[in-house]
């Protein structure tokens, strides 16, 4: 009766009861002794352990609620109208309800990463054993699990060591989800504190997943020069049998590569992927091709190219089975989280399954044995490709014109489109033979397909757009540096100084989904802009793909133009969604490795350091999912601001500072214990920008920290002012709030800024040694 029972497969439990006991012995804390760092104050924090830190942040960054619904429908007392000061039948107020909704989203997001992490870990432990050592980057990465060390106070050395870490995560997610029950938490800020907690736990879960797969599957190990992989619809050789993998959990896909390798088929079959499974399979074999983010699912399937589709979990369109059937491509589901109503063929012989697929007898099957999946997928693709002839459902030009003629200009498609794209306006000319305007929509279309069922004329609107962009899709031939995983300790040591001194103006991480207001290109443009300005740019997940989907005037993609090192002007693709942990991990490592702050179970001090000193900003331009909500929350608790696109207001609230309220910006000076004005930096914790331009200006501003040296502040200000001038016009109106001493003023902007300062009665303010924790006064260790 060991907790290990949890991750057991039934067959194992049946086969040998004694195994229980054997395994329960292996749980032990053997490595505990080897780590001589003393335990910090908050290992395995509970819901309330870090509450006061959260409230400190939330006092400054108050939630600005943007209710996305005026009602609550969570229990059968409802629906309750919570408009204004009304309360629900359980007594809840609108503000608490909004935070509660955020907490549900964050719990779903964290649960998703953690359960993915658990499935992955169980799989690699089955394959490689509990004792398989963690290896994230050899000797270059001694702090192998900064978040786990920080949060849990443990130092994992083997795959097996990661299991109790996930136990903790599962326990906390359960506790947090319970908080959303009717009649539990009643205070909005306490809900927010729990959102932060969910975010922190989420990052632990992500870290476990990525260090497990990097170690066990031999992904690039913190390699700044990880291989380049093909990216884009145009890179697929459709003359070969094509496998498409979609999702986030890589084992079914590695099993495909393994089968291809073992059978010498690697160059005969195209393995293509969408979403993070694509990112991770490319880390496993750079021969795999990445099609694009979630928004490419419909267009790629409808192109008819894939001969077999293998889905695992997360961000898999739930209509994949229907779309696959429309192109007569079989679908293999491989996760018990996404069974799609398919018959479970896990225990059937491979030959029988392959035969049923190839003969067209079945359209889909559930196969939960990862090892079988590889062979089945490949053999089905081989068997089916010759007959399918890659017939897609995208309309030809003639057919587009014909369909466009049926349009009544009712506007329903546009009214269904999340980006309010002028579809009817583009269909009108198409009816007359001019497909240009339709093609123009392609870049801004997020491929959600909502326009189609909206149309009373049954016009397949999205297909019309993709069809009209046929030439453009063929030219989607980009490349991406495969996910490198962690940041090396030595890189941290190198950039720690320049970041604090300001030679590097900040770290900007482009993460999250593809729900962009104006297409992928904006992400690529922002990446290049900040790399050019010598920020450290990080990318992950869908955003990492988007970053590569654009060539500048030299014909180069971001990944070709900039290095993959964690350095000024580098563009660092850490990997898939779960690799986001390396970004927060890097911030933590700056505090721990560069600044030598104690790490173990010492969350508050490290977060206080990061918040006040490490100029990092997360940008989730197309953030869409609950996972993105959880990831953002993990950054918030570390005091790292997150910028989202305009759709981000649908996350129900922003966390906004008030630069105009001086009293909000006082910090303790650690040298004296005095409360001193630290300036409105970073100004916000969660901010939705209206346009790319507004985002870039805000990003530059949000890298500022109270601890900036004058040199650093001057560099950050120079970028901020320059971006503001270019994109907004004129000097930023708040520049006087950001200059503390004359030396903060960028040299080249001296006269105009001085004039501005005079106009605003500017007074010099000392630069503090900032902390928000009274207990850090006089006790600094660096």
């Amino acid at each position: 009766m060991s907790r290990k029972g949890v991750s057991f497969r039934v067959k194992e439990i049946n086969s040998d009861i004694a195994q229980f006991r054997d395994l329960s012995i292996s749980i032990g804390a053997i490595h505990e002794e080897k780590w001589d760092e003393p335990m910090g104050p908050t290992p395995f924090p509970t819901l309330s352990t870090l509450r006061s830190w959260d409230h400190t942040l939330l006092k400054r960054y108050k939630p600005f609620y943007l209710p996305f619904c005026d009602l609550c429908c969570l229990c059968t007392y409802g629906k309750c109208d919570l408009t204004g000061t009304k309360r629900g039948a359980c007594g809840i107020s609108m503000s608490a309800q909004q935070s509660r909704t955020v907490l549900i989203a964050a719990c779903i997001g964290a649960a998703t990463h953690i359960s993915h992490s658990r499935d992955l870990l169980t799989h690699v432990i089955e394959q490689y054993g509990s004792d398989f050592p963690l290896n994230i980057g050899g000797t270059s990465v001694e702090v192998e699990a900064p978040i786990t060390r920080l949060v849990c106070g443990v130092k994992p050395e083997t795959l097996g060591d990661l299991e109790p870490v996930l136990d903790y995560c599962e326990n906390q997610v359960t506790q947090l989800l319970a908080v959303t029950h009717t009649g539990q938490e009643g205070n909005n800020l306490d809900f927010e504190s729990k959102v932060f907690h969910a975010g922190m736990v989420d990052h632990v879960g992500m870290e476990v997943a990525d260090i497990a797969q990097v170690s066990a599957l031999g992904f690039p190990k913190a390699d700044p020069e990880s291989a380049m992989a093909d990216l884009g619809l145009g890179t697929v050789d459709a003359t070969k049998p094509v496998v498409l993998v979609i999702g986030h959990n890589v084992p079914p896909s590695t099993s495909i590569i393994d089968y291809l390798r073992d059978n010498g088929l690697l160059s005969e079959i195209e393995v293509t992927g969408i979403c993070c499974t694509a990112m991770d399979i490319a880390r496993y074999s750079a021969k795999a091709k990445i099609i694009g983010p979630i928004s490419w699912q419909l267009r790629y399937i409808r192109s008819g190219v894939p001969d077999v589709i293998v889905i695992d979990e997360q961000c898999v369109r739930t209509d994949t089975l229907q779309e696959a059937a429309a192109i007569r491509t079989p679908l293999i589901a491989t996760s018990d989280k996404n069974c799609l109503g398919l018959p479970d063929r896990t225990n059937d012989p491979i030959d029988a399954i392959v035969a049923d697929f190839v003969s067209g007898k079945v359209a889909g099957a559930l196969v939960l044995d990862m090892e079988k999946v590889g062979e089945i997928a490949v053999r089905v693709a081989q068997g089916i490709a010759p007959n399918r002839k890659k017939q897609g459902t995208l309309p030809s030009k003639d057919r587009i014109i014909e369909l466009a003629k049926k349009c009544t200009q009712c506007m329903l498609c546009r009214r269904a489109c999340p980006n309010d794209l002028p579809i009817p306006q583009a269909i009108k000319p198409a009816a007359g033979g001019n497909l240009g305007p339709l093609n123009e929509l392609y870049d801004d279309c997020v491929g959600c397909g909502r326009c189609e069922p909206a149309c009373g004329q049954k016009i397949p609107v999205h297909s019309l757009i993709v069809g009209a962009a046929e030439k453009q899709t063929r030219e989607e031939t980009f490349c991406i540096r495969t996910g490198r995983g962690a940041i090396q300790d030595v890189e941290i040591r190198k950039v720690g100084g320049p970041i604090v001194l300001g030679e590097i103006p900040g770290i900007v991480a482009f993460v999250g989904c593809a729900n962009y207001p104006k297409g992928s290109r904006e992400v690529a443009e922002m990446c290049m802009e900040f790399a050019k300005r010598r920020y450290i740019v990080c990318t992950s997940g869908c955003s990492a793909m988007s970053a590569g989907m654009y060539r500048d005037k030299d014909g180069k993609t971001a990944y070709e133009k900039y290095s993959g090192a964690f350095e000024a002007g580098g563009i660092v693709n850490v990997g898939s969604c779960v690799s986001n942990a390396h970004i927060s991990g890097a911030a933590i490592k700056i505090a721990s490795i560069f600044a030598k702050r104690p790490l173990r179970g010492n969350y508050e001090e490290i977060a206080d350091y990061v918040h006040n000193r490490v100029g990092a900003v997360g940008v989730a331009w197309g953030a869409m999912s609950q996972k993105a909500a959880a990831i953002a929350a993990g950054f918030w608790r570390l005091g790292i601001p997150v910028v989202v696109g305009p759709h981000g207001t649908k996350y129900r609230r922003m966390l906004l500072g008030r630069a105009d309220k001086d009293e909000d910006w006082y910090v303790y000076d650690a040298r004296t214990g005095e409360k001193v004005y630290g300036g409105p930096v970073p100004e916000h914790l969660f901010f939705a920008a209206e346009t790319k331009e507004e985002a870039m200006v805000m990003i530059a501003k949000l890298t500022m920290r109270p601890n900036d040296t004058s040199k650093g502040r001057a560099n950050k200000l120079a970028n901020y002012v320059d971006l503001h001038k270019r994109h907004i016009g004129g000097l930023p109106p708040d520049v006087h709030r950001l200059v503390r001493v004359p030396a903060d003023i960028p040299l080249t902007m001296k006269s105009e800024i001085l004039e501005h300062l005079q106009q605003h009665d500017w007074k010099e303010q000392p630069i503090p040694d900032p902390t928000l924790l009274p207990r850090m006064v006089h006790t600094r260790r660096d």
């Binding site: 943007l66 619904c69 408009t83 305009p646 649908k650 906004l656 920008a689 907004i728």
Partner: protein, 179 residues
């Protein structure tokens, strides 16, 4: 097109919904009645031009005639400056909206709170959510939108209109204000 349904079909509001500005005088009356109105202009306005009239010029006239301070978001500022009109403030949309929920905020001029916030030109769903924030959390501020689509969370909104109808209404509002 239905007049008073959310322009984005799915963005259904709760029981409290915007009154329709069925005639331009309604908007005028509201603006006149306001003690301290403020106009928030998003980047969307840059796209609109009808029969030679650019929306931005119309708004500048509105601001001038109505003596309404203008807050510009995103890159809108550049276009105003290019026309020689200096907005009262440059501020992201979520920032100005957040300040409007603060009943103690004394405005960009430090003098008093605003009682009417007129929005135009934000992306539809962003304006929807921001107006929702104000509907619930800024009880002292009435809101109005001048967009050509229905925004249910405002206090007053135009119905979903064709660009032509809408331009005519705007023109009438500005003309009336001059009286």
């Amino acid at each position: 097109m239905p007049l008073n349904e959310s322009w984005q079909t799915g963005e259904i509001p709760g029981p409290k919904k915007a009154s329709l500005i069925v005639k331009p005088d309604i908007a005028d009356a509201m603006i006149r009645r306001a003690k301290r109105p403020i106009l928030i202009v998003g980047h969307g306005i840059l796209e609109y031009e009808v029969e030679g009239l650019r929306l931005i010029d119309c708004l500048i006239e509105l601001a001038k005639k109505g003596k309404i301070p203008v807050v510009v978001t995103a890159s809108t500022n550049k276009e105003f400056l290019a026309r020689g009109y200096i907005p009262a403030a440059i501020m992201p949309a979520v920032d100005i909206a957040n300040r409007l929920t603060d009943a103690t905020w004394k405005g960009i001029d430090g003098k008093d709170t605003y009682d009417l916030a007129i929005f135009v030109g934000l992306p539809y769903s962003m304006e929807w959510t921001i107006l929702s924030g104000l509907k619930h959390f800024a009880p002292g501020v009435k809101t109005m939108t001048l967009d050509c689509v229905y925004q249910p969370n405002a206090s007053w909104s135009f119905p979903n209109s064709t660009i032509k109808e809408w331009a005519a209404s705007l023109r009438a509002i500005v003309a009336n204000l001059g009286d």
